[in-house]
Amino acid sequence: MTAQVPLAESLFTWPAERPALIAGRSSDGKLVFPYRTHRLVGGVREELERVELPRRGRLWTFTTQRFRPPAPPYAGDDTPETFQPFAVGYVELEGALRIEARLTEADPEKLFIGQEMELVVEPFGVDADGNQTMLYAFAPVPEGDGDDQR
C-alpha cells in the first residue's frame, strides 16, 4: 500500500483527523504562511515559532480555473482529457491570515463571498516514489453545522 504524504513538508499537520495549516509566528505576532524558519523583524533575523492556523473561516473572494494549468509546474495526476475545472479562493481565518487554496466546490454559482469554509486534506497526485500526495483545500461548511470544531 502506498503512503499518503503532504505535497510539501510543513504545509499542514499530517496524518491528522482534523488537519490544520502550519504557519510561522514572529515575536511581533506576525504570521507567515507557508511556514518559514525565519524572517527579518526590525532588521534582525528571527527564528519563527511553528503554529497551527484556525481550521474554519469565511470565503473572502474566489475564481475558477477552466483549463488544466500548464504542466510543469502543475503536477496533478489528471490529464487534459480527465481534468476537472476547479475553484480557487482566499479564505479569511479570523485573527490570522487570508489563505489561498483550492476549493472543493467548483461551481461559482454555489460559492459566495462570506461563505463559511473548513480546511480539508485530499488526495492530489503521485510523487516520484509512488506515494499519494495530499493537498489542503477548503470545503463549504454545510448550513446548520455548528462551530464546535473551530
Binding site: A8, L31, F33, T63, P69, P73, A75, I99
Partner: protein, 382 residues
C-alpha cells in the same frame, strides 16, 4: 525647461500579433528603425540603448542588427512594467548628463497560451506550482470578484470595458484583434476565471515598440512636436497589498502599488487626474481596467458603473481610456507593452492618431501593473 528635462522625439511600433518566422529581435529592429526615422536621428547618433524583453535574455543584442557602434546597451526587465523602466532608464541617462540621445526598445515573442514558469522565478515554493495555483489569472479573477462585491460593479460593466477595447482595436490598423464585439457577445463567451470571460482577457503575443529620447533643450533640432516626459514612477508592493501569486495575505490590507505610483507621478508632474486628456491603463483583463481607473485617481470606487454606461471612457468621452484598444485588442508582448502605450500617447499628443484622435489632447497618462506586484506610471505632455 531645464537641462535635466527630457523629450520624446520619435516613436516606432512593430504591430503586435503573431509573426511566424520572424524573431523578436527583428521586430525590435523594425520598431527602432521607425522611431529613428520619426525622430530624424541616425543610429550612429544614438548614445545608449535600453532594451526590455521577457523571452529574449539579451535583448540588447539588437545592436547586432542596427549597427555595432560600441554604445552601452543594457537589458531591462520589471515584468509587465518593463516598458516604463526602459523609458525611465533611457531618460535618466540623459538627466544625469551621460548622454544626449538614447533609445528605449521593448520586444517579445511569447508562445501561445497562458504564461508558464517555475514558481522559483517569483520566489515561491515548488508545491505552489504543482498544486495548480501558480497562475496570474487567478488573481485577476479574484481581485475583480471581490471588487464587484464591495463596489457594486456589474458583469455588464466588465463587458462594456472589453467591448470598448475591441471597438478601439477595430479602428486601429496596428491592433491584433480588430473585430467589433458587443457586450452581449462578450457575456456569451466562456468563463475562464469567474467572473472573467474569454473575450475579457488579453493574450500573450509578439511585437515591439521603440522610443527615441533627447535632452529637451535640443529637441527643436529634431522635431517641432516634442513630447515631454513629465513623470516616471515605479513602486513594488507593500505589506498587506492584494497581489498576484500570494499563498497568503495579511488580514489588514494596504493599497495596490499602482496607488502609490500614481500619486507620486502626479506630484512629480505637478498635475492631477483632471489635467489628463488621454489615458492608458493596464487592461490585462476588463476587470483590471475598471479597478485601475480608481487606483489611478480617475474616479471613486464604484463610479465606473456609471462612467462606462455613459460612455465616458470612449474616445469621444470625458476620460478616453486605451484609445488603441489596450492590451485586450493588442495582446501583451511583455517587454514591449509599456512602450506601445507610449507610442499611442505620443501619437495622440502630436495629433497623429487619425480616426482615433482625442481632440485637444495635451497630457497623456500610462499605467502598468504586473507580477510580482509592480506598478509604474508615466506622464507625458506636449
Amino acid at each position: 525647461m531645464t537641462s535635466g528635462d527630457v523629450a520624446i522625439i520619435g516613436v516606432g511600433l512593430h504591430p503586435f500579433g503573431r509573426y511566424p518566422g520572424k524573431s523578436a529581435l527583428e521586430m525590435g529592429e523594425d520598431a527602432v528603425i521607425e522611431a529613428l526615422g520619426d525622430a530624424g536621428v541616425q543610429w550612429p547618433d544614438v548614445q545608449a540603448l535600453y532594451a526590455g524583453s521577457m523571452e529574449v535574455k539579451n535583448p540588447e543584442a539588437i545592436v547586432g542588427l542596427l549597427g555595432l557602434t560600441g554604445i552601452p546597451g543594457r537589458a531591462v526587465f520589471t515584468g509587465c512594467a518593463t516598458g516604463a523602466t526602459s523609458l525611465a532608464m533611457a531618460a535618466n541617462a540623459i538627466r544625469l548628463g551621460e548622454h544626449d540621445v538614447t533609445v528605449a526598445v521593448g520586444l517579445d515573442k511569447h508562445p501561445r497560451g497562458a504564461f508558464s514558469d517555475h514558481p522559483s522565478v517569483s520566489g515561491l515554493p515548488s508545491w505552489f506550482g504543482e498544486a495548480g495555483l501558480f497562475l496570474t489569472t487567478h488573481f485577476f479573477g479574484m481581485k475583480i470578484n471581490r471588487y464587484m462585491h464591495d463596489h457594486g460593479i456589474s458583469h455588464l460593466t466588465l463587458a462594456r470595458a472589453a467591448a470598448k477595447a475591441f471597438r478601439n482595436g477595430a479602428a486601429n490598423p496596428n491592433a491584433w484583434r480588430r473585430k467589433v464585439l458587443t457586450p452581449e457577445e462578450i457575456l456569451a463567451s466562456p468563463v475562464l476565471n469567474y467572473p472573467l470571460r474569454q473575450f475579457m482577457y488579453c493574450g500573450p503575443d509578439e511585437g515591439a515598440a521603440a522610443v527615441v529620447l533627447c535632452r529637451a533643450d535640443q529637441a527643436h533640432k529634431y522635431t517641432s512636436t516634442p513630447i515631454h516626459l513629465r513623470a516616471s514612477t515605479l513602486f513594488s508592493r507593500r505589506e498587506g497589498a492584494f497581489e498576484l501569486l500570494s499563498p497568503s495575505l495579511p488580514i489588514e490590507s494596504a493599497p495596490s502599488p499602482t496607488v502609490f505610483a500614481s500619486r507620486a507621478a502626479f506630484e512629480s508632474a505637478g498635475l492631477g487626474p483632471d489635467d489628463v486628456d488621454v489615458v492608458q491603463l493596464q487592461d490585462t483583463d476588463a476587470g483590471s481596467e475598471i479597478i485601475h481607473m480608481a487606483e489611478n485617481g480617475f474616479c471613486k470606487d464604484g463610479e465606473q458603473e456609471k462612467l462606462l454606461a455613459d460612455g465616458d471612457t470612449e474616445i469621444g468621452g470625458r476620460l478616453p481610456v486605451n484609445t488603441d484598444g489596450g492590451l485586450i485588442a493588442n495582446g501583451e508582448p511583455v517587454g514591449a507593452s509599456g512602450l506601445r502605450q507610449i507610442y499611442e500617447l505620443a501619437n495622440q499628443l502630436r495629433g497623429r492618431a487619425g480616426d482615433r484622435q482625442v481632440e485637444r489632447a495635451r497630457v497623456g497618462y500610462a499605467q502598468l501593473y504586473g507580477a510580482p506586484g509592480t506598478a509604474a506610471v508615466t506622464i507625458l505632455s506636449t
